[in-house]
């Protein structure tokens, strides 16, 4: 199986078959810490309901974790990438690098 086939197989997963979800996961991988739901919504400029939907799908696949936490701006929902999510992004980035 070549890199492109492997990449197609990876992106066929429901959680990764959407560019926005893939982008959120890549960003969380590099941040390697918690990001608030409010910040994500402001960054992406999409409706709350759409972002919820994307994050629910990523959580169902075990790629992200979220919880309520105390932040300097008050209690917020915070999201971070899971260990499984990190493995998936690592694999994805390797394949993309090989494909140039």
């Amino acid at each position: 199986m070549n890199e492109l086939d492997e990449l197609i197989k990876l992106l066929k997963d429901k959680a990764l078959s959407n560019g926005v979800r893939l982008g959120i996961l890549i960003a969380l991988y590099y941040v390697d810490g918690y990001v608030t739901f409010t910040d994500l919504q402001r960054d992406l400029d999409i409706p709350k309901s759409s972002l919820h939907q994307h994050l629910d799908i990523l959580q169902e696949s075990g790629l992200v974790e979220f919880k309520r936490a105390i932040t300097p701006l008050g209690v917020r929902t915070v999201i971070r990438i899971s260990d499984r999510g990190k493995d998936v992004v690592k694999k994805y980035l390797e394949l993309v690098k090989k494909l140039g």
Binding site: L4, L7, I8, L11, K12, L16, S17, N18, G19, V20, L22, G23, I24, I26, A27, Y30, V31, D32, V35, D39, L40, R42, D43, L44, L93, V96, K97
Partner: protein, 212 residues
């Protein structure tokens, strides 16, 4: 799923990741400026307290393994600040080397050579000739080298190709290059540097909070 679908998902994915990371990197820069902006204030507070309270002054002068406790406290503060900075920089460094980064630059751009030429000329004028103090020249040169290293590290955020350099980034880094060596002779330079970095930190965080 065809190859063109894959490229479309990758393109949207990269654009989305860049939008999120742009703000996260700028936020990290803001926190970094604010963090180091408070450093001289923390040291000054400790120093003032030691003047006012004899017990603290004696405690700071006490030696453990021939090292004064005061020096150990300063080193501990530097270690805490550095470890926090390392966490902030690791994200910028990893992004700058990732496939979603837009550009890569060499780590030692032209300004380094220009800066060293200016510092060498200044040191020569200040300390060369009869009555010069070679040791002081070394202290200034060490501070200048530290400033170059810090500014080079600071550009890691900008080398990610996601964060655009703002006027206050130039101001913060130029102030560091000029005022850090100068603070060896004039303490007030350190406080001025602190104020400029706090300003850069606040402006960075306002950029993230605002709609720029």
């Amino acid at each position: 799923m065809t190859a063109s679908d894959v490229y479309e998902i990758i393109k949207i994915g990269n654009d989305t990741a860049r939008r999120i990371l742009l703000r996260e990197l700028r936020k990290a820069m803001g926190l970094y400026y604010l963090l180091w902006g408070t450093y001289p204030v923390v040291i000054a507070a400790l120093s003032t307290a030691s003047y006012q309270f004899d017990v603290l002054s004696e405690a700071l002068q006490y030696r453990v393994f021939s090292i004064p406790v005061g020096l150990m406290v300063v080193m501990a503060a530097i270690a805490v600040y550095t470890s926090l900075s390392f966490r902030i920089f690791s994200m910028a460094y990893r992004v700058s080397r990732s496939p979603i980064s837009r550009r890569h630059r060499g780590p030692w751009p032209l300004w380094t050579a220009v800066y060293y030429a200016l510092v060498t000329a200044a040191l020569y004028l200040a300390f060369a000739g009869p009555g010069g103090e070679p040791f002081e020249a070394l202290e200034y040169a060490a501070a200048a080298t530290l400033a170059v290293l810090i500014v080079s590290a600071n550009t890691a955020h900008l080398r990610s190709g996601l964060v655009r350099a703002r006027r206050y980034d130039y101001l913060a880094n130029a102030a560091l290059l000029a005022l850090l060596p100068l603070s060896m002779a004039y303490y007030v330079s350190g406080y001025l540097l602190s104020l400029i970095w706090i300003y850069a930190g606040v402006r960075s965080l306002l950029e993230v909070i605002g709609d720029e």
